[in-house]
Symmetry: C2
Subunit: 211 residues, 2 copies
């Protein structure tokens, strides 16, 4: 295992670890983490089952490693909006749309990572870190707006949690029923929902007709 920031060439082991992650990303697109066996995961990366344990403590640990990277990406997706202030519907919408696209591909295991009922300790720790981090960024933005005099309808911490969860479940739902709603309608509704939720405001921007 290379130290973080190590500059040495990737050893055979480093490649194998990557192969395991790549293989998992593919396999987990079809099956849930509970349905996949370690044997299958190892096999997909071309090693024996017992070899798996050289790289990861468990299936869960691999899942955590997978999500760590993906969530970083989601944070980047939302970066513009988080950095802006006021309503900035366009930035929010853009961020949500990017995230949605990511979720449509990697939704299954993102969902499992966040919603799994009994994660191992490592997963639990990382999950807490990621969720807390996400909520905090949201919350900071809300508090910033509140300080700037904008009306905010509740405790920023609670609102941030709600907004994060609203996004999470809406995406999870979009993944589960990919054809239930048009992407644009979904993102538009979610964007406005978050804005209404937090700021109590529905933008007057003209939108495609509503029922």
């Amino acid at each position: 295992m290379p130290a973080i920031g190590s500059r040495r060439a990737p050893t055979k082991g480093d490649q194998r670890e990557q192969a395991l992650l790549d293989a998992a990303r593919v396999v987990l697109r079809e099956k849930s983490i509970g349905q996949v066996t370690i044997d299958e995961l190892a096999g997909a990366a071309g090693i024996a089952r017992s070899g798996f344990y050289f790289y990861f403590e468990s299936k869960q640990a691999l899942l955590a490693a997978l999500c760590d990277k993906a969530i970083g990406q989601t944070d980047v997706d939302m970066g513009d909006w988080l950095a802006s202030d006021g309503l900035d519907r366009a930035a929010l919408r853009e961020g949500l749309m990017l995230s949605l696209k990511r979720w449509k591909v990697e939704g299954r295991w993102l969902r499992e990572f966040f919603l799994a009922p009994d994660p191992g300790p490592e997963v639990l720790e990382m999950r807490d870190r990621l969720v807390t981090n996400g909520c905090t960024m949201f919350r900071n933005r809300i508090e910033r707006d509140a300080r700037a005099g904008r009306t905010v309808h509740g405790s920023p911490a609670l609102l941030a949690t709600m907004a994060i969860h609203l996004r999470l479940t809406t995406f999870a739902d979009a993944f589960a029923n990919p054809n239930a709603y048009a992407e644009d309608e979904l993102v538009d509704t979610l964007t406005d929902a978050i804005l209404r939720l937090v700021y109590g405001i529905t933008p007057t921007v003209p939108r495609p007709e509503l029922p």
Copy 2:
């Protein structure tokens, strides 16, 4: 197993089945369904592990039976609001408060039932039925309001799903962090959040007093 509506006295088997459900309700307050073994569940009801299978196909099936009843209760909780129309903040708040109290007790397995990543077929079917049912009731109310001329900010189906999920995750969160927020603050915020989400309106009524 007695036919539905059967009037005959409960046999020993009926009692055993009930004992199993009761025992599970207690055991599952402390551990997740994944952490509990069938052996433990059976033992808590005073029978051998293999005897368990006479009553339920699997752990999941028992969980489903447990939730079927609990969800019926939640629907009753929300009944007043679902039957009313217009904003009726008081009824909504009351329903949410009742549900919250239920979640604080039975949250762990309710959460697992709804959020479990790979439910067996029976669970899946029942879950779909219950979720769909819940969403439909919510949705009907929204559509009723829309027809009555009240502004509604998106497709009723989507809004209903969002509202249901918002409630679900907020309660799940409240269960996971029981001391993070005061009950009243949480319910007030959630009540208003749902009203803003669906109708884009924040009641101007002073809180927590109601008109």
